[in-house]
Structure formats: C-alpha cells, structure tokens
C-alpha cells in the first residue's frame, strides 16, 4: 500500500551531495569560543551541540564526512562560567522588564572542570584562545593555570593529549583531511571586551607568525581547509547595544542641575532634554577633570551594570569607568588590527588555496537584515536572533547561518555540493 501511495506523488530528482575536490572523511576545527559552541556566556551541553563546526560536520557527513567528536561538557548549566537566560527581572527603580539574568544552576567548577574527557576530539575550539595560543606548547598543562599570567587554558586542559602539547599539535595529530580555522577574534576582542584595559591587541607580526605556522602545519600532509576572518566590533551587539548618547533626560530640573554641576558648559560637558552622551572617565580629558562626554563612534560595553546607570548616577553625576568604554583611540586601534588580521587571513587563503569565509563583510551586510525561510534576523541584541545573550557568541540559529557561510565557501572553492543546514531547524533565543 505504501508503494502505491508513493507512486501517486510526483518525484523530484534527489540532491546529490559531493565533496568535490575535497575530502571530508576526517574534519577538524580549530578556533576559539565561537568554534567551541560557547553561547549565552558559557560553554554548555546543548550550546556545544549547535557549534557551527558541529553543524558543518553533520552536513559533510552527507558528502563522505566521518564522525565529528566534540569535547562534550556534560552539564547544561555550564562549565566554569554559568550561562545567562532571558527572564523578567525588577531593576533598582522597581521596574520589571525582560532581560538577561544569570540562569543559576550548578556549573561545573574546579577541579571537576579540568577532568580529561578521555577521548580524541575533532573540535579544537578553545574558549578564550588567541591566534598564538593555538601554537603554544603547554596550553593544556594544568600547572600553567596557576602561573601569573596563566600559560594554560582550562578548556584545553580537558582534552589536551598531554601537558606539553599544543592545540595545533593535537589537531594535526588527528590526521585531518579537512580543517577549518577561525581565530583572531580574541586577538582584538580580548582587548575590546575589557574596554582596552588589562589586555593588549596581538601585534600583527605575532598574529602573522602564528597563522602562518598553523596553516603550514595543517596543510603539510595535504589537508584542504577553510579559514574565516574576524568581524569588526561594530557588527557585534556587545558593543552596539548601549548607545553612546543613551543618557535620557526628561526633566529640565535634571538638565539644569547637571549643567550647573559641570560648570555650565565651561568644561565641555553639557546636557539638554532628550538623549545625551554619557559622561565617562578619561584621565587625559582636555578639561583637566578626568571626565568627558562620549563621542559618536565610541562604544559602551554590554557588561556595564545597567542599575549603576539608572540609580547610581553613572554616566551623569559619576563617570562611567574606562573598563566599560571603547574610546575613539581604542576603536581606531581595533579597526587597524582587524583590517591587518583580515589581510593576513585572506593572503593565507589565497597562498594556500583555502576557502575563505568573509565573516566580516557578511556581518556588515547583515546589519540591514537577513531573511531565511521567513525568519527575519538582525544584528541587534536579543531581538536580532543571531547573537546569544552574551552579545558576542551565536545563537543556535546564528551558528546555522555561519555554518552555511562556511559551507558556501567550501562548495565554491572545492566544487563540492555540501547541503546547507535549514536555519529554522535550530532554536532562536528562548523567551519565557
């Protein structure tokens, strides 16, 4: 009866996946938290399963790919860090609204978090890793965690094959036929996410050295691969959500009091009804008081405690500390570095015949909106649907979109036919 029923339906030729000139039988991915599947501020079980690398691997499997093993975190609450969730909470003014709050639960802490996974993996995405970390021996040595500054990374300690190995050495030892490399975000982001404090942008020479080393090693046994570049910070909601002029004054009395407190405009700081640039701390402010107002093109980081703005006078009576600000000099430094890194990446891709995913351009274009199968996406925080609640890492649907960009680049470079993932198969941001 089933046979009969099938014959009534018209038939369409099946899509035939193919690997083209590539060989997906052993795929490994190298990268940072984005590759690991970090989301909502944590690495947790389901988030990992939606890593773009895992999604790509599942599609490659249809074109001759093999198993793809991830260093699974067996805790939905997170490893080391706990994740965020969207929930209604009440702020210091007593106003309830929907926003990200710690999800609670019991993230796996030390020392259990360091327990070796005990199996070989394909996904060498290490949260926090910068370009040169991938080539650093001992990056998985638990003893290095205690060094000042630390020379190891707890996320790599979990699956490093030995205390002396490097991410690159382990990835190469897996004998991949195909690899993906998306690194460099932390080389600028680490600097930017700390408001330019406490971290430095990786020197282009060091970045070049590291990437040349990685690509040379990974391709040395004939593996083909794909490499992705670094998005500009202005594409990432971590930087773009709080506007530079987010200080909204609704009463003239407030305006007058603030103007009086700042010398009625003599210090270059002035207020009016409506939106005003926040007041920030800047030791080199020309007015000599160590404060100034933000300028357009400068960014307030998403980590800024919102209640301090609302109830503690931050951004008006008190300056916002520099660690929450990416000022114009820092933005310029980040842009220069991003451009330089992306040039290195694109040169390496052409020199080694690798597929290139221009994530940077993709996200710049995505600012005006993306549509897949009737789902509308943007780069805005929460409502955009691409970035998860930490404002930096991807939602499952965001991972699917990125995975598709990788697949398109791979198909194009290697004349392959790896099917795209259905973006709608994956969850968006979960609303309570």
């Amino acid at each position: 009866m089933l046979l009969v029923a099938v014959s009534c339906e018209p038939k369409l030729d099946e899509f035939v996946p193919s690997s083209g000139s590539a060989d997906f039988s052993k795929y490994v991915s190298l990268g940072n938290s984005l590759t690991a599947g970090y989301a909502d501020g944590a690495l947790y079980t389901s988030g990992q399963s939606y890593s773009y690398a895992n999604l790509i691997a599942a599609q490659m499997k249809k074109a001759g790919g093999g198993e793809f093993v991830q260093p699974v975190v067996t805790n939905e609450d997170g490893l080391l860090a706990g994740k965020l969730k969207l929930e209604i909470s009440t702020n210091c003014l007593g106003v309830s609204s929907l926003g990200p709050i710690p999800a609670g639960g019991t993230p796996t802490g030390y020392p259990a978090a360091l327990a070796p996974v005990g199996y070989a993996v394909n996904n060498f995405g290490v949260p926090g890793a910068k370009s040169y970390h991938l080539v650093a021996p001992g990056y998985g040595n638990p003893a290095g965690l205690l060094a000042i500054p630390p020379t190891a990374n707890p996320y790599f300690v979990r699956f490093a094959s030995s205390p002396t190995t490097s991410v690159l050495a382990d990835a190469f030892a897996a004998q991949p036929t195909f690899f993906s490399l998306w690194i460099g975000n932390n080389d600028v982001l680490g600097y930017s996410t700390s408001g330019g404090m406490g971290d430095v942008i990786t020197a282009p020479s060091l970045f070049t050295l590291a990437l040349n080393g990685i690509v040379a090693q990974m391709t040395s046994a004939g593996a083909k691969g794909v490499i992705a570049n670094v998005p500009n910070v202005t594409s990432v909601p971590f930087f773009t959500t709080i506007p530079y002029n987010g200080l909204v004054l609704t009463e003239q009395a407030q305006v007058d009091a603030l103007n009086a407190a700042y010398g009625n405009g003599l210090l270059g700081i002035s207020f009016q009804l409506g939106q005003n640039p926040f007041v920030i701390s800047d030791p080199s402010a020309p007015n000599g008081i160590g404060r100034r107002q933000l300028k357009q093109g400068e960014f307030v980081l998403l980590t800024l405690p919102q209640d301090s703005l609302r109830c503690a006078g931050w951004g008006s009576q008190k300056p916002i500390p520099g660690q929450y600000i990416l000022d114009e000099n820092e933005v310029a430094a980040v842009n220069v570095a991003t451009t330089a890194f992306n040039q290195v990446i694109s040169d390496l891709a052409s020199a080694n015949g690798l597929a290139l995913v221009d994530v940077n351009s993709f996200l710049v274009n995505a600012k005006s909106g993306l549509v897949y199968d009737g789902i509308r996406f943007g780069l805005t925080y929460v409502t955009g649907g691409v970035f998860s609640l930490d404002g930096i890492h991807l939602t499952p649907r965001g991972n699917a979109i990125v995975a598709n960009e990788f697949i398109k680049a791979i198909n194009s470079k290697y004349n392959a036919s790896v099917p795209l993932v259905n973006v709608g198969d994956y969850p968006g941001i979960v609303f309570p």
Binding site: V4, F15, K62
Partner: protein, 409 residues
C-alpha cells in the same frame, strides 16, 4: 496508457486541493470536465448556467437537473533550492468541489434556473514542522456560489443570459511564528467567513446546426473578510506584542473570467470543441492582513502576490457511441498566474497540463450517469518567494475523479 489508467484508479481511491491556476477551480459539470473543461459553447443541460448562461435557452429538455462532485486528491512535492537536501510534500485534505443545477424552460424562448457550485477554493497542508512553516502550514479556502439565472433566446441563432451571483466563503490559515518559547515555535491561526456578490453573463451564437460559439464573462468578486479571528500562541513575555485574541481583516479577490468557446459537430457522432479562458488574475496584487490591534511586533502585513492575467487553452471532444453511451476526452494548458518572484507555498500553482476523459451512460432516456477523470500535471519548476527568501523546486500531480447525475425531461 494502461499504466496511467492504473495510476489514476489507484491514486484516486487513496483519496485527498489545488487544481486550476491559482485558487480557481474549473470542475462544474462532468461532461465538460471530460472534454478538457471546455464549456462556453456547449449546451448539454442546466450546467450551462455556469459555463454560459446564454446557452441555457438552447438546452433541449424542458427541465434539467444536474448534480455532481469531484473529489480532489492532490500532491505537491518540494525540494529546497540547492545546495540543500531538504524535501517536503503536502498532505492535502480531500477537496470536494460540487455542483447542483436546476433549470426549466418557461417558454420556448425564456429559461430560468439556479446554480450552486464551488468555483474557487484551495485546501492544502504542508504540515506543522516543515521548513516553510513560517510562510504557511495549513490553508483552507472554500467558496460556494448561488446563482439564479435567466436566459433568453432572441432567435434561433442567438441566446443571451445572465445570473446574479451570491458567494459565501470561509478561510482558515495557520502558520508558525519565528519566536522561540519553551515549547518551540509560536504560531498564529486565522479563520473567518464572509459573503459577496457578482454576476455571470454570456451570449451563445448558433449560426448553423453544426457550429456553436459562446462568450461568457464572470465578474470579479472580492471576498472581504472583516473581524476574522486571529489567535496567537506565543511565549508569555511576548503576549503584549501578539494579543491572544486579536481580529484580522483580509480581502481575497476572486478574479473575473472572460471565456470564448466554439464547438463543431464534425459528424453526427463526433463533437469537437475548444475554448480560451482569460483569467484576470492581476487583481490579486497583494494579500493584506489588517490586524485590529497592532503592536510594534505586529504591524499590518502586506504580502506581495502580483499575479498575472493568464489565458487557458482547452480542447475536447465527445463521441456518441449510441443512445446510451457517450465517450469524451480532452486536454488543456493552464499557465501559472503566480509571479516567479512571489511564488508562495500557500498556493503552489504551477504551469498545468490537464488530461481528461469521461463518459455518460443513460440507463433510461431521462437519466444520465456522468463520470469524468482529470489528471493534472503541475510541471516541475524552480520558484521563490523572495520576501521570505524561501524557494525551491515544485512539482505536482492531481487526480480528480468526477461523479454526476443529470436528469432531463
């Protein structure tokens, strides 16, 4: 041929619709269906009231009653744009267009009657979880037309006729909303009903005993649904953006038709007929959902359709074997009115080739048992709904057996 016949028989009785282009349905008389849905110039019986009221005054019996039903079993398959291995198919409920006609000759020149039929409709289901669920999951459009009709034979060569159309209709639509809650997607379902009016007028020319020529015009009818129920199911915190018991207004135009047909008695036994049906689909410019309560997340939604006017070519023939049996066959080409840029899976209307066959058997002189079969091939094509970036290859097959009775005296 035998394989095709087998397929027809088997697939039909599995029983389940989209048929003619867009959401127009052409199944209004088993005899006409058997002849490639040609009808404008034919004067078989009371069914002329739909195909051409001008022809009613030429029908031979004094009283004519016809009723019939055409269960539609339709299958549409979809393969997403490459590179994708995603495929889907519809699991459409059985569509059941029907007709009832009763007409009488008041005198030699004047005839009157009433027609009840279903010239428009669409019922399809892609399922709750398919990849196009944010465009459409299930849709049902049903319209029933009531048409009192008068026909006047001016002389032996020309008849005119017209009918007033009262149309009632219902629609139900459900689709998923791309907001994720603890239980997965949100959803919206709309349902409402309405009524509207129009007309059907035609002329039949009978220049010789061998030739008939018909022209018929059926007016556009806009089904304005106001205050239909719009039920939203979304995560609790988004309830303010999607009021749970909203109302919606939507207008669905049923396009006008201009039909021209000619039939020729080649021999005493063989009747040949053609028709050209011009459908003014361009009235379907956009599908607008006007919500009673708008929110920033729920503005009124204007969905471009930009249908194009299309001509359908039909040809058919009837062979009278003897007093008891007539056999029919026909075919037609019905090009898709859907704009290539705005091809939504909600109305997956392709370029269709229809093949038909039919027969009438008269156990007694006054009663005719009319059977037909329509096999409709929706030709494989790559189509996209660009506003939603959703597209792929579509293909369809539709099996429509028809059963009818005619009683003339």
């Amino acid at each position: 041929m035998r394989k095709l016949t087998m397929l027809a028989v088997v697939c039909t009785f599995l029983f389940s619709g989209v048929y003619a282009g867009g959401y127009q349905v052409g199944l209004h008389g088993q005899k006409q269906i058997g002849m490639g849905l040609v009808g404008t110039s034919l004067t078989f019986d009371a069914s002329s009231m739909f195909y051409n009221p001008g022809g009613l005054s030429f029908m031979k019996p004094s009283y004519s009653f016809a009723l019939g039903v055409s269960p539609i079993r339709s299958f549409t398959v979809f393969r997403k744009n490459a590179p994708s291995d995603y495929t889907a198919s519809t699991d459409n409920p059985l569509g059941t267009p029907f007709y009832f006609y009763g007409a009488a000759k008041i005198n030699d020149r004047l005839s009157a009657g009433v027609a009840v039929n279903t010239p428009y409709g669409n019922s399809l289901s892609w399922g709750k979880d398919w990849d196009g669920r944010y465009l459409i999951q299930d849709l049902s459009l049903k319209a029933i037309f009531f048409q009192p009709t008068l026909s006047y034979k001016i002389n032996d060569y020309i008849g005119i006729g017209a009918g007033f159309v009262f149309a009632t209709g219902t629609f139900e639509l459900s689709k998923a909303l791309p907001v994720t809650g603890a239980n997965g997607d949100g959803s919206v379902s709309l349902n409402g009903s309405t009524s509207a009016m129009g007309f059907n007028a035609g002329v039949l020319l009978h220049p010789s005993d061998k030739l008939d020529i018909g022209i018929d015009y059926r007016s556009k009818i806009t089904m304005d649904v106001t205050g239909a129920d719009a039920k939203f199911t979304v995560p609790a915190t988004l309830g303010g953006n999607f009021p749970a018991d909203n109302k919606v207004s939507v207008a669905l135009p049923l396009p006008s038709n201009l039909d021209f047909g000619a039939s020729y008695k080649a021999t005493d036994k063989l009747l040949l007929a053609i028709s050209l049906n011009y459908v003014f689909w361009s009235v379907y410019d956009s599908l607008i959902f006007d919500f009673e309560t708008n929110t920033p997340a729920l503005p009124d939604s204007k969905n471009p359709r930009l249908y194009k006017n299309k001509m359908i070519f039909r040809i058919g023939g009837e062979y009278t074997v003897n007093d008891k049996l007539a056999l029919r066959a026909g075919g037609y080409y019905d090009p898709s009115p859907v704009n290539d840029m705005y091809f939504s899976p909600e109305t997956p209307s392709l370029n269709n080739i229809g093949l038909t066959a039919g027969l009438s058997f008269k156990p007694v002189e006054k009663l005719s048992i009319d059977l037909s079969f329509l096999y409709l091939m929706g030709m494989e094509a790559d189509k996209n709904y660009t506003p939603d970036n959703f597209g792929g290859t579509y293909k369809s097959r539709i099996y429509i057996p028809g059963f009818g009775l005619t009683y003339n005296f």
